[in-house]
Structures are given as C-alpha cells and as structure tokens.
Subunit: 260 residues, 2 copies
C-alpha cells in the first residue's frame, strides 16, 4: 500500500462520495426523461440511465473499499491492511463502456440491422479494450504496463475510426436540430476516453507514492463523470430534439393535437 497523507485520503474519499451522488442523481434524471421522448428513443435513455446506475453501484463499493483500506484517527492515517480493490473500476468499465457506445448508436435511430451490427462490433471492441488494459493496471513494473496499455489502444483506435468514419454519413442524415449535438456527443466521448490513457500513464511521471494513487483515483473519477453523465446529458438532449422533430413538440398544449 502506498503511503498517503491524511489530506490525500480525504480528497479521494470525498470525491468518491460526490461521484456516487452524481451518478445516482443522473440515473433518476435519465429514467424520468423516458416519459418525455418518443417511443424510438426510450431504449437510448434506458441504457443511458443503466450506465450511470452501474457506475453508482461501483462508486458505492469503491467508497466502502477506500474507507476500509485506511484508518484516520486524530489526524494520523494508517493503512488498515485491507487492500483497496481497484478492480471495481475495470469491472464497471467492462459493463458500462460497451453500453456507452450502444446508447450513442441507439439515439441515432439507424435501421434495425445496422443498429444491431454496430452495437455488437463497437461493444465487443470496447470490452476488448478494457480487458487488455487490466493486466497493465495491476502490473508492478512500468514496462508491462506499457505493453498492455499499447495493446488496449488498438481496439480504441478501431472505435475512434468507426465513430468518425463509419458513423459520418449517418450523422449527416440526422435532423438538423440534433446534428450538432450528435457531433458534440461523439467528440466528448472521444475526448473523455482519451483522458483515461493519460491517467493510466501517471505512474510514469515524476510523481510518487501517495501522489500517484491520488492522481489516478481523482483522474479516473473526473473522466467517469464526463464520459457517463456529460455524454448522457447530450444523449438526453438529442433524444428530446429528435422526438420534437419526428413526433411533434410534446411540450405543446395537448388540446392542439386532438382539436379539429
């Protein structure tokens, strides 16, 4: 266990509690939103909420694991001997990262066959990316870390290629009111995912001991919030705008729709 200071411990502790609350709140927001979009977009919001729900569960577990890994008494911090279980993150990503790509595909409302084939291809690549990253994350030496990190970036590059090349035409055919938002969601997905490898490489910096551990935990936490809640809000806005364009504005007085 790395030696960390009481201040570092508390920073990470509070960040985990904050993130649990943010993920749980986002989940409820997305699921309440299901009743405000057209039938074609309900599944996209179901999945968007599932991503943050799964993350909320894991941040609850991560928080508990962090609390029990250290004891802070009279301002003095000691390791309890119970290890912090970092694997929760990878277990979370294995479920949520494929779902994040599927929510983007679903909100585009492509043909049924294209939706299934894209979801399977992007979902599998995302799972492979996570699986290849894990042996590096738990490795003690930085060379092993680099090898698995590099292998993991191959499916990542394939995903980026699919998002920017494969989905390019489909985005141009989206309703004009949603097109800009879809491009933003794609860019935010790319940017937030690009942040994970940067955090992954923190052990290569001149930081050491508790600063590395704190940097990695805070870094991954920020990236998770942006990738799951941030992208989720964009998906929600896309679903609302496309519903308005395709089903009419649900916010208009109902009487207008039934009047002769």
């Amino acid at each position: 266990m790395d030696t960390i200071t009481a201040g570092q411990y508390l920073l990470v502790y509070n960040a985990f509690s904050f993130t649990f609350a943010a993920m749980a709140a986002a989940t409820l927001f997305f699921w309440f939103g299901r009743s405000q979009v057209g039938p074609a977009y309900k599944t996209a919001l179901t999945i968007t909420g599932l991503v943050t729900a799964i993350a909320a569960y894991h941040y609850f577990r991560i928080f508990e694991s962090w609390s029990s890994a250290y004891a802070l008494t009279d301002g003095v911090i000691t390791a309890s001997g119970v290890g912090f279980n970092d694997a929760y993150r990878y277990v979370d990503w294995l479920l949520t990262v494929p779902l994040l790509l599927i929510e983007l595909v679903l909100v585009m409302r492509l043909s049924q066959s294209k939706t299934v084939s894209l979801s399977v291809r992007l979902g599998s690549a995302a799972a492979l990316m996570i699986i290849l990253g894990y042996p590096g994350e738990v490795a003690d030496d930085n060379t092993t870390r680099a090898i698995w990190g590099t292998l993991s970036s191959i499916p990542f590059l394939y995903i980026v290629w699919e998002l920017f090349k494969g989905l390019g035409d489909a985005i141009e055919r989206q309703p004009e009111s949603a097109r800009g938002l879809i491009k933003q969601a794609r860019l935010l997905t790319f940017a937030s995912w690009g942040f994970y490898p940067i955090v992954y490489m923190i052990p290569y910096t001149s930081l050491s001991g508790g600063a590395v551990e704190t940097g990695v935990q805070i870094g991954y936490t920020i990236a998770d919030i942006v990738a799951k809640v941030g992208v989720g809000i964009l998906v929600y806005m896309i679903a609302v705008r496309k519903s308005e364009a395709e089903y009419g504005d649900a916010a208009k007085p109902v009487t207008v729709a039934v009047a002769q």
Copy 2:
C-alpha cells in the same frame, strides 16, 4: 475449506460483484422494455426480468458469503472458518431455470392451453434436473457426484427433446422476422445449459485445491450470465420484433395515429 491464493480469491470476488451488477442492470432493462412491447409479450418480459432479479439477489448473497469466508490482510489470505454457502446457486436455479423455459414458451405466444401444458412439463423437468444435481454437487467423493450428475441429465435430455422436437413446428409458424432469433434463443439455452455439466465435472480433472474452487465459481458465473442475460436479450428482441409484426411499429410517430 480449500486453500486458495489471494489472486484466486480476488478474481472470484470481483466476478461475483460484476455479476450482481450485470443481473441488476439486465433486470431494469427488461422491465423498462415492458412498455415497448405489445400486451401479449409483457408477461414474457416480466418473467425475463424476474429471472435476472432473482439471480441478482443470489449473487449479492454469494458475494457476501464469499467475502466472509476468507480474510485478506496485508496480501495474506486465511480462511475465516465461516464456510462459503454454495447452496445459494441451487436455490437460485430451482427458481430461475423453470422460469427461463417459461419465458421462452411465453414469447412464442402459443395457444393458452399449449402454453400452460408446456410450462408445467418443462418447468417440472427443469426443477427435477436441479434437485437431482444437488446431492452430487455437495458429495465428497466423485462416484456419488457421477451418479447424481447422470440422474440429473435425464430430465435435461427430455427438455432438449421438447425444445428441438416438440417446439419445432411451433417455431416454423412464428413471424419470419422473429424465427431466426427464436432458433438462436433455443440454441443459446441449449449451449449455455450444456456448459453447466462441464463445470460440474471440473473436480474430475487434474486441477486441485483452490484451482477447482475458482474454476467452478467462475465457470458457473459465466454460464449464468449467458443463460440469463444473453438469452434474456434475445427474448427481449423477439418480443419487440413480434410486437412490430403483430401490433404495428410502436416507434412510429404517435401523431399519425390520432390525426384526421
């Protein structure tokens, strides 16, 4: 208690937490999906979600039981003396395996009398299969294990016969858009169930001690995810496609339906 390594303990620990999250997420997905299918298919999705909900409950219990069976302090693992309760799996299967067959029967939308008689016959055979397997699972010697395992395979073969012979004609009468998916669901049920006996036979291999325990736990966990979440997603897709074929596409703009 078998001696296991810290790595084996953590692998199983994380697999149980992952499976709890996956089962709980799948449950919500199936139940949200109820609002997106026609009235005839709502019960199939209710049952599909019940299967994963029951499994989520049991994986939560299994996770707690596993955590309390061992203590991991400063990287050293010791048995706590509290035994790991493997019976949770059989209790789970006794409830979920009959329900898994019933969800397959329900999504086919056969006549009421055929639905009831098939559900009773397949459900009873499935329960018998689980009950006969249990004495073998807890037996200390491999001969007793083999005898009960063989007895358990008799109702299994009956189920396979019903699925492939008895349901064959009914599948040919399904809407074309769903027929392929129903055959896939039947095949995935057969393949995933065929995986359980393989895991059951791990004690006969040259593996020993912690490797047997780890292999059995990880094996059953993978089989449960495929049989419950994997087959469940296929049942969901079948329900959506058959609803479209029989009730019209719910994703079409609502305004079209009410406009003059």
